[in-house]
Symmetry: C2
């Protein structure tokens, strides 16, 4: 097809495609074996069906959170709005600086619950599938916390963004 | 935390969270055992690492495309821009009406390649993990086609949307 340029390098093909693809942003938290709060910003979190309610997310097995995830039984998935931009940035930066003393508390199943997300899903870890140096994590949703509404936080073309106009 | 309302029904908790979460939109195509083009609109497609380049997407095992996916070896993942709104809607509607005679052709590995997507990733199916009545599909990216740029197509709060302003 004449309108396409071929890209034979598969890593470059992935990069070109994902620069053109937008994602919602969430923060996933859990408790380390030492009882400390750990977490990270994820752009891969997605639904895996509503009945029973399941979600999935992807994580690099070299990430700072990976050792805790391997021994954890539960995670909290926080969906973010544009008011949570600083939280998304902090949870993607230096892993020793991700939790401030004042913006979270321990909740159900000992999970660190961050303040002011648009929603929280309390989940049990069901399956972890290792795929090379990454993993797909599948969780059961057990219950939730519904927060104040806000425009969803997006990640697109290496920037955080808000949604624009409705097309339909 | 006082700003949250508890939601004890897990399916309602999932629905409330995903109404607040935005997704990018892609169309995934493959060839049926009879050699016909089949495909569907996906909001779950995401990267699973760049080295090696991998992606994942979720699909209901009751969907019209599921029997073809179970016997297929390859898929084409098309990332969509806002110019592709009608394509996204058609590929989510009546499965007998998804391919028009003029807007696609067979490409690498016999895959149906749709015209005018923002990018296409040509993929081999690596793993399929069944999870209740859904499945997680993991693919290797083999090569790509880079299309004309466009604002990414989003799905958010049951509407298709374009991205808005950058926040950082």
């Amino acid at each position: 097809m004449s309108e396409y340029q071929p890209e034979i390098d598969p890593t470059e093909a992935l990069r070109a495609a994902f620069r053109r693809h937008a994602s919602g942003v969430s923060v996933i938290t859990l408790t380390s074996a030492e009882g400390k709060p750990v977490g990270f910003t994820a752009t891969s979190m997605t639904s895996l069906g509503a009945n029973p309610p399941l979600a999935s997310f992807n994580v690099a097995s070299g990430s700072s959170t990976w050792p805790s995830l391997c021994q954890a039984t539960h995670v909290a998935i926080h969906t973010l709005g544009q008011r949570n931009l600083a939280l998304a940035q902090r949870m993607a930066a230096d892993h020793t600086q991700r939790f401030t003393p004042s913006d979270w508390s321990f909740g159900a199943h000992g999970l660190p619950i961050l303040q002011d997300a648009t929603a929280v899903m309390i989940c049990s870890i069901r399956e972890i599938h290792n795929v090379d140096s990454n993993a797909v994590v599948i969780v059961n949703i057990l219950e939730g916390l519904t927060g104040q509404e806000d425009d969803a936080l997006l990640y697109y073309n290496r920037r955080y963004m808000s949604p624009g106009r409705a097309l339909n």
